[in-house]
Structures are given as structure tokens and as C-alpha cells.
Symmetry: C2
Subunit: 161 residues, 2 copies
Amino acid sequence: MTTRIDPQDVPGRPCSLSAALQIVGDRWALPAIREVMLGNHRFRQIARNTGAPTDRLAARLKALVESGILERRPLPDDARYSGYYLTAAGRDLGAITRELIGWGDRWVVTDPPSRIRHRDHELVAHTVCKTCGEQVHGKDVHRDELTPGWNQSGSLESPEM
Amino acid sequence: MTTRIDPQDVPGRPCSLSAALQIVGDRWALPAIREVMLGNHRFRQIARNTGAPTDRLAARLKALVESGILERRPLPDDARYSGYYLTAAGRDLGAITRELIGWGDRWVVTDPPSRIRHRDHELVAHTVCKTCGEQVHGKDVHRDELTPGWNQSGSLESPEM
């Protein structure tokens, strides 16, 4: 990120989820990033494959470049034009897009329109905790607030009415 | 989902990412789900802890109930009122919210405002492929299109101009 966000400045609970959504929470951001991940670097490819209105897409890609998620570089096959490429922060969105695709496959669509492959076999992803080596289940995961004045229930300074 | 989405009906590439974002891609959807995950089931708790405008939040929660992500049930401590609870599809969003928090911690915020704990130790999550048992790296993951007429580059029927 060129300028990092102070978590106290997001609305409500100081949280990296809200901060992340300020960067990639727009309707067209993750579909555009998906296209760049698939190797589609030209504006017109991204526009066609996301279905985004070109004016909104142009504004969103500009914001993603300014945030340090995408960068513009000359296209290898035609250096007169530049394309959109992922930065390290952008490449690090791979797990999020895969999780959203998996959730959509399980709960939203009539039939999965794609299959995610790991090398030569189907990817069956599960999350493991490196500290203990065990598979992670939601019931064993807890969030500790590091911001003074906040706990799970909310702000201690303006408690629920 | 009460009514599943035909992936051919999303804009651009038929994709479960775009379909998933039609349900949870709104600015306030995932922060609201985060609050319910943290045990905050009342409307006023969710409003305060997300910072969402109450009219937009009410519309979004209604849509999440209609989509089958949340359900309303009487509050255990005051059965005159109902609160918002996660369905199985909503609970299955846990990994996505954790991934977004981790990405925000790494790339967006000045200092992480929370820590995710796995039982009694810090969660250091990594993704493993159940099929082969190995850790998953983005470079080994590929997407196969199952929709006739589409490949990685886009639609074969309306090729790039």
C-alpha cells in the first residue's frame, strides 16, 4: 500500500476486514483482479470478461493502481501499450478469490462454471494452522481485540443502550 | 440459497466469484456477518459495530435473510425480540472473512487491530490440498472453465476485437 489506513479511521469496529474492503470491496475490483490473474492484462479484455461499464472499470483500475494492488507495465507482445499486472499485494489476493469461488460453488450457483486445479488434480483446499499442524474449524477460532476500549461486544466507551 | 443463480446470468465470465459477490459484495454485508460471528445478534449492536447507516443496513440484512445467509430467531435472553443468526451458508463464510482480515493486516492497515487465535495459540493459517497433502501456492493453481464457449482468455464466440 502506498498509504496505509489507520484502523481507527474505518467506520465502526477497528478491523482489517473493513479496511481491506475499502480497497477491494467495490463490485468490480475482485472480478478485475481475477482477470489479471488469468493472464488478461489489457483494459478491453478486463472490460469484456467482467462485464463492467468501462467508465466505472477505468476508475476502479486507477484506484487499484494507486493503492498498490495493480501496476501498469508495457505489454510484452506490444510495448507501445501498457497492461495491468499484479503487485505482491495483488498476488496475495489469490486465496481470497479461490475461497469466494468455492463458497459460490457450494451455496450460490446452480452448477459450478469452473473447476480449480492444483497441478494435475482437483484442488480440495483446507486450512491448516501452522502453529499446531491441525485442520482449522470455525468453532476453534477466536478473535482478540488489540484496540484499547474494544472487545467482542463492541466499544466499552459507548456501551449498548 | 433460496434461489440459486445461473452462472450464465452474471455479467461477463460465468463465474462463482461474481455470483458470490451478488450476495456478499455489498459494502456492509461482510462487516455485518463478522458481527454476527462475534456473537452480536441485535440490529443495534450490528449497526453500532459496523458503522453502517441504519436504513442501508436494514435493507442489506433483509437481503441476506432472503438469500439464506442469515436467519431471524428469538433472542435467548429476551424472546420478545428476534436477532440475526448464521445459517450453514453464513457460517461457511468464516474462512473468507479470516482471509480478508489477514490480507488487510499484511497490506492495508498501519497496525493489526485484532489477532486471530486458534484455541490457545495464534492462528498461522496456510492452505493445504487434501488430494495431495501439499501446501498450496498460487503458481500451482489453475482454473479450468466448464462453460462451453469460454476459456481463460474469454468468450470464444465474441473474441477480442
